[in-house]
Amino acid sequence: MERIPILKMGPYLLVSIQVDMHDRLAMQLQDDLTERIALTGARAVLIDISALDTVDSFMGRMLGNIAAMSRVLDAETVLVGMQPAVAITLVELGMTLPGVRTALNVEKGMELLAASLRAGESTSG
């Protein structure tokens, strides 16, 4: 069965969605990602959806849910690389993903995560 790879890099988990998302795949990703966060104790998750050019309400909710679940597991999550068409569709569907942090591309997303990890360390340490 096809899966979306989850790559671990230091304290980060990287998810890059390169294939057409269908509902089963999204559910699988949700399971895999939560498991991996718990297993590795990752502090930050970056989800790249730059290759995703169509989205429906289910997919929008899944993205929101995955981000929310990661946050519950104490991993900062950022959604990067959303296409303009996808952003407009989500907004028209009324899904503004209020709790999810976003960035334009992977580079900016990593900067954002690095900054929030540093901030987290300085407050806790």
């Binding site: 303009p84 952003a87 907004v91 503004t96 993903l97 976003t102 334009l104 900016k108």
Partner: protein
Amino acid sequence: MASSASPLPRLLREHQAEVLNDWLSRQAQSNATRRDLISEVELSRDSTQFLAAFTQALESGDPERQTGANWEHLHEMLKNLSVTRARKGFTPSETAMFVFSLKHPVFDLMRRSIKTPDDLSRESGLATSVIDRLGLATTEYHQKGREEIMLRQQQSMLELSTPVVTLWKGILALPLIGTLDSERTQVVMESLLKRIVDTGAAIAILDITGVPTVDTLVAQHLLKTVAAARLMGADCIISGIRPQIAQTIVHLGVDLSAVVTKATLADAFAVALARAGLAVCPAPGAPRTAASGVVPAAEA
């Protein structure tokens, strides 16, 4: 024999100059000619060309259905004339009156030249129906011309009114002018998101100084744009909120608490610069007039 062929084309051909002069003098007296919008030279040129084409078309026959190259030429000419006059600001009836005013000179000519009452009434009927059809066609062309103008204006307004300006590296501004309806919001949103991708901007300032009124619908459109930009990883600041608009927003119960709002574009720009870790300072060695004007106020 002449009973089958109408004598009208022949009469018009023979007395063309006479009819033209009569027509021009009648048009000069008429109110519908709108001498303020069209010059005498233009009017006489239009009239001469129209009368020539009209005679030619009548000579080719088939006045009922008006088909054939000569009639097409006449209609083409009418179309150009109507569109030109529509652009100049003629009303449809004023444009149609140009054609209808030809009736008088033509009827006068027929009264003088055709002696038998039967022939006269038959020819009058024919001439009336032909000129009426042409006049009505004018109205139609006029309307089409107006519609084209409106469509073009609407499109150019859409294009003109949604510029996305780069204020600084990574800072975009979107000066919105005019009412925000769904269609414009779509255009605004698309151009903003496209520029965010192109420039990699992290901050966008929506300036609504030029938006005359903000109701719940406009506010909703604004919030949609803000949400879409945020999904792309860019923060939005709404600026240019006038006091009346601030009052309206609060009275309507529109919740803008999720968005940073500033009174002026300058304030918003200052916030954007601060977020980008930049500051504006006076250039070294520059005359300190502007700065010295600010300092006492800041101390006071």
